[in-house]
Amino acid sequence: MSHVLTMDKPDERNSLDAMKQGVIGQPMDRPDGIAKVTGTATYTAEYAIKGCAEGVLVTAPFTRGRVTRIDADSIRDMPGVIRVIDDERLITRAAQGDAGEAPDQGPLDVHYFGQPIALVVAETFEQARDAAKALTIEFAADDLSDVPLDPSAADTERVETTRQGDLEQAMKEAIHSVDVTYTTEGHASAAMEPHAAIAEWDGQQVTVYASLQMPNFNISELADCLGLEEDNVRLLSHYVGGGFGSKLVISPEAVAAAIAEMTLNRPVRVVMSRQQVFQAIMRRTETRQRLRLGTNAEGTLTAFGHEARISNLPGEDFTESVVQASQFLYGGENRFLQLELARIHRMAAGSVRAPGEAVGMPVLEAAMDELAEQAGVDPVALRLRNIPDKHPVKGIPYSSRKLAECLEQGAQRFGWDSGPRKPRQRREGEWWIGTGMASAARIHSVEEAQARVTLRVDGTALVETDMTDIGTGTYAILTQIASEMLGLDPSSVKVSLGDTNHPRGSGSGGSRGAASTGSAVFIACEEIRRELAKRMGTTEDALQLSDGSCAAGGSKKSLQAVIGNQEISHIGHFKPGEVMDKYLAASFGAFFAEVAVNEWTGEARVRRLLGAFGFGRVLNAKTARSQCIGGMTWCIGAALTESLLFDPVDGHLVNCDLAEYHVPVHRDVPHLETILIEERDPVASPIQAKGVGELGIAGGAGAIANAVYNACGARLRTFPMTPDKILSAMPKQA
């Protein structure tokens, strides 16, 4: 039976807190942890499928134009070659998050350098890779002088505008103001596991093992690509070695594997090379952002302007929502927020962890630091002063918000000095030492989700959903929710994920997986509790389940006795509802950083980084902290090292491996301290949880940038702050 809960109003019951098992929120180890660290968890490319052929994608060696001929004969005699697949259903790029339909197909029309155009299938991976290199392709490339590659020179279109009051006038009247323009560079998800897929076809149904974040959407995307009904497609994604947005969607390798399998009637595996993942999956757009902030004499915002230019391929709808948190984080009655989209021929821009806030928040928070300096106000105090009572445009209340607590507790734990701030005040040898802070904010959203929970005759529970665990801890938290609700030891709960034969979950994306699919599990468990209560002759709220026993009124039985020989199985079905229109729901926090900058070389190293976060109920204190510190690590990369470099002549991505795209290494990451502030949000979800997967990246690079300035006096308006840029902006030695 399926039971639907539509979130049309806040769920004030707060049922999880009434349970007695004491498992929810605990820092429980991941049930999948041992398998992962011992190498026995099977990831997509590792399935040993008998008779599996190997496919390697061929990519376009030009920027825009048309492939006129793919000469399969040119490799026919090479060892092991089976077939060249140049089916027009092959996709030219990954889909976009939540698309549920095929992205651009027809690979012979080339839109960016490195676009997949064909698949070479051979008996071994090495043979396929060699043949893919040798394949002769004829093409007509457009003259590069006609191809827009540089976002600052390309035509733009306006995609989003919020206007309230008169920003220009308010800026004129402001006592303190800043009008500053920042830039950020493109980012890659850089997940450790490359994109991979294996397809098997039984004449009716194609089964695809793939590394995907949202099978619930991806099944529709793949079916649409192949021209099949969804019933004829099954996706399996039990373990995902990092996604960060890059696996939200069906991408070229999965479609190519499925087409190859259906063409050859033989299982085919396609693993993208590291370079191909970088060059053809998706990028976070570079941005140019203008911030106009003005306050009255007391430092209260009266003017708030945030405009951003982003880019994407022609025809792509995705826009990095750079000004998203600027909509609701701070007050200021005169507001102007705008996004402009430049059309350029770099690979498609799409979702990379916290699209919008990941680049919008650091820039806003750097501009706030400039404003605090200008106004002579402590940066923490400036933020506290500008926390609005209601949404500054919509006038709706906040569902729950621990921003002030995060700022205050974070400042206290960090030892923030609220005295007057001046750069270049503290030096240790060659190193200037400085501090900086920033707020964190990430919009909360939920997605429709279903999960089946079965209480089996042996007294154990099985949770099934096509939801995924992309390293986030889904296996752990769904175990804990079922365990708490059903009074079972976590070892008596088994969670099965990532199979589209299971009820559709929410997928992992937009920080919404835990609250959405967690609620589906919660709803299913509530139904089971109702049925148990009925069998006990009582009501659900009078029922106490703990340690495998059922108690109501004066009587107590073992759970197994109540189940008898009739297992109890229910599908919980969570649906987002109107409540999200009536409240602004978001996760909030604060970052505090201490950074050292070398006087001679401009090298910047983070010495301390602290994050305080409020994101509703903490479902698992360990996996939630891991999400936070993972995000904070990204902040270090975004602030100091990470930047996609595009060739100015043909627009190809130049640094397409982990040696040259510089994510932070262990030595760049100091001990990361977190404060997880307890909160219950009845609007966010029936389990009072909000999202945390992206909060840790939403602003921290700004705290590091502000600390760079405080350390050495280099006020850089460009991320990442690499040594060359810091040196050029550092004041000359007195």
């Binding site: 990519t59 890779r129 001679w600 090292t641 040696a659 932070p664 030695q733």
Partner: protein, 326 residues
């Protein structure tokens, strides 16, 4: 990766013979295998030299012989290298990662190829990879690239750290060929400038094999290896300096300096050392030394920063070595 023959050499002569016939030697493979996967390198035959007796570090008079197959890790932790050639130990530890250093060998590291993005991308022009196709980097992303000794054919850098320290130490490469003839080439002359033959990284001729690197008698003084990079490990140098500096009576008594990340070879210029030796250390003296270093420097937009960075890094190293305070 193209199919290739694999042979395991039991004797040096055997390896040399195969290499005379076009085989490529493989030891740790940390660079070669990556390049073979990308088909930047497409050897028909690989000759595995790991069984050859070249894996020892041995005393040689007052100096030290480091066998060609000594791993980076083994060299970096060797007690004599740590004690007498600290600059070398420090340079090695500044390179790559522990896992790579465990596999990478002394000779392989000397022969490692540039990390120029255009060299490793077979869809792009590169005179080093494919002579005559042009240079993508000169008009492209030249962030990693050279500012000294470049040519209009190539602006790639030699990426390593170990060789920069060996260059400061004035180490000598021992080379033998298939006829058993051997020769000695100072590390300072081992790598080439690109000129109009950028495909040729170093002076090795077909069939020649490196057997060891000889370190001369130790030089007392302060040993420094300073590597500048945006992340603190697993990144190639934006600029690096290897220095051995000794002070006496307030003057610089000895200075050996070599530079990485600036050229197609580890950069050594005796005129820099001559500027320093015998002088009282000061910031203005260090500036004059940098003037000598950078006299002919030419940058390509993306790497303009390397010229001031090299000047500042040299000053930082000399301040540390001589005790000059800023």
């Amino acid at each position: 990766m193209k199919p290739f023959d694999y042979q395991r050499a039991e004797r040096i002569e055997h390896a040399s013979q195969l290499m005379s016939d076009g085989a490529t030697a493989i030891a740790g493979g940390t660079n070669l295998l990556d390049l073979m996967k990308l088909q930047v390198e497409t050897p028909n035959t690989l000759v595995d030299v790991n069984k050859l007796p070249m894996e020892k570090i041995e005393a040689a008079g007052n100096g030290l012989h480091i066998g060609a197959l000594v791993t980076n890790t083994a060299a970096a932790v060797h007690p004599r290298i740590k004690a007498d050639y600290a600059v070398l130990s420090r340079a090695i530890l500044a390179g790559a990662t522990q896992q790579l250093r465990n596999k990478a060998t002394t000779a392989g590291n000397l022969c490692q190829r540039t990390r120029c993005y255009y060299f490793t991308n077979t869809d792009q022009p590169c005179n080093k990879r494919e002579p005559g196709t042009g240079c993508g980097a000169i008009k492209g992303i030249a962030r990693l690239h050279a500012v000294l000794g470049t040519s209009d054919q190539c602006i790639a850098t030699y990426p390593g750290d170990m060789a920069v320290a060996m260059c400061a130490l004035d180490a000598v490469v021992h080379i033998t060929n298939a006829n058993g003839a051997s020769r000695r080439v100072p590390v300072r002359e081992f790598h080439r400038l690109p000129g109009n033959r950028p495909e040729k990284d170093n002076v090795l001729e077909p069939g020649e094999i490196i057997t060891s690197v000889e370190l001369p008698a130790p030089v007392k003084g302060t040993h420094i290896y300073r590597k500048v990079r945006e992340r603190s490990s697993y990144a190639f140098a934006m600029c690096s300096v290897a220095a051995i500096v000794r002070m006496e009576d307030g003057r610089i008594d000895h200075a050996s300096l070599a530079f990485g990340g600036l050229a197609h070879k580890p950069w050594h210029d005796p005129a820099i050392e001559e500027t320093l030796v015998g002088q009282t250390p000061s910031l203005s003296l260090f500036d004059r030394a940098a003037d000598v270093l950078l006299e002919t420097a030419q940058s390509y937009g993306e790497n303009d920063f390397k010229i001031p960075l090299a000047r500042r890094t040299l000053a930082a190293v000399l301040c540390e070595a001589t005790g000059v305070h800023t």
